[in-house]
Symmetry: C2
Subunit: 203 residues, 2 copies
């Protein structure tokens, strides 16, 4: 196994999927967290000037999804079959876009009240609902998003919609198959332990 | 080889990288192009209601990058080594983001004059220049973006910056290594033939 250091801000955001994958795979790594006030100085030493970046035996790998896919391969969370692996990629792309729309609200300067309004009137109906409908239909005939084995697509599904289920469980009621996967992933011993012991950051 | 149909609008946009990969690999497929006026009707029959979508033996694969990565594997354009494949993914993600910023301008309702201003004052300095600098530095020590073999990252590099080189060659002058790859890809017989014979659509 290569020596791994995951560098990101002290928040969940675009590194949390990779942290879940590392936890699932029991892969040793250094979880380097940058405080926002240190960023202007630290930025200069980062290959692309952006985080997350994964250092692999000293070589930098940027881009959150490229990092997560690489780690998912190490953790056995990428299907062997090329078409199934591609379907997995397509779910991750779609769910990552949904998460990205969420970050726009979360990290905005809106008030808490305005953020709730944005969630209710834009994020949920326009981005989350279409994704939920598609995933629910996919999961009606199989146990996991990409077939009969868990994949990194199930982890991002649980990451994104677990947050919704926690705050607004009634919104998830029309999607029992998705909710089942969301809870099943969070109940895996390694993920459960990560959620319970990870640094307490909001996003 | 599976039976492939690539469905997209009658334009380059988010399907052109996949078309280049298919051309490079000499992979037979149906290039199904939807006219904008037929879209509201056609949309209903598309799995996610979005294009591009690749039909693989009748099964749908959505999301442009997931499609391109799958086709790149078929065409031998993905490195075997997992870390090199991930570095390739990271270049494609970065270049695809640059292209996405370009589409925002191209497909906007701005006048031609305003579009040129947006390109000059925002797209080039804020998005293209940082990417060009990073790619130039990467290419100073090796022939192709991901090592000593051509990959799908070189194809998207050539696709994105070939358009700039054609219209504003002076902007590419500080990046001779990138320009070299841009032209070398476009000079490959299969890509050259595709560029010369593909339907004449602006983007």
């Amino acid at each position: 196994m290569p020596e791994l250091t995951l560098i990101y801000f002290n928040q969940k955001g675009r590194a949390e999927l990779s942290r879940w994958i590392l936890a699932y795979g029991g892969i040793p790594y250094t979880d380097e967290r940058i405080e926002k006030e240190d960023w202007p100085e630290k930025k200069k030493a980062i290959y692309t000037g952006k985080v997350p970046v994964l250092m692999v035996d000293g070589e930098p790998l940027p881009e959150s999804k490229a990092i997560a896919r690489y780690l998912a391969r190490l953790a056995g969370l990428v299907p062997e079959d090329p078409f199934k692996a591609a379907v997995c990629d397509s779910f991750v792309d779609a769910l990552s876009d949904v998460a990205g729309e969420g970050y726009k609200i979360v990290f905005s300067s809106l008030s808490e009240e305005e953020k709730k309004k944005e969630f209710k009137e834009k994020l949920f109906p326009n981005f989350m609902k279409p994704a939920l409908e598609r995933m629910e239909s996919k999961l009606s005939g199989q146990e996991w998003l990409c077939g009969d084995k868990i994949s990194w697509a199930d982890l991002i599904l649980s990451l994104v919609f677990g947050a919704v289920h926690k705050r607004k469980p009634e919104l998830m009621e029309p999607y029992p198959a998705v909710t089942g996967v969301v809870l099943k992933v969070r109940d895996l011993p390694a993920i459960k332990q990560w959620i319970e012991t990870a640094p307490d950051t909001p996003y």
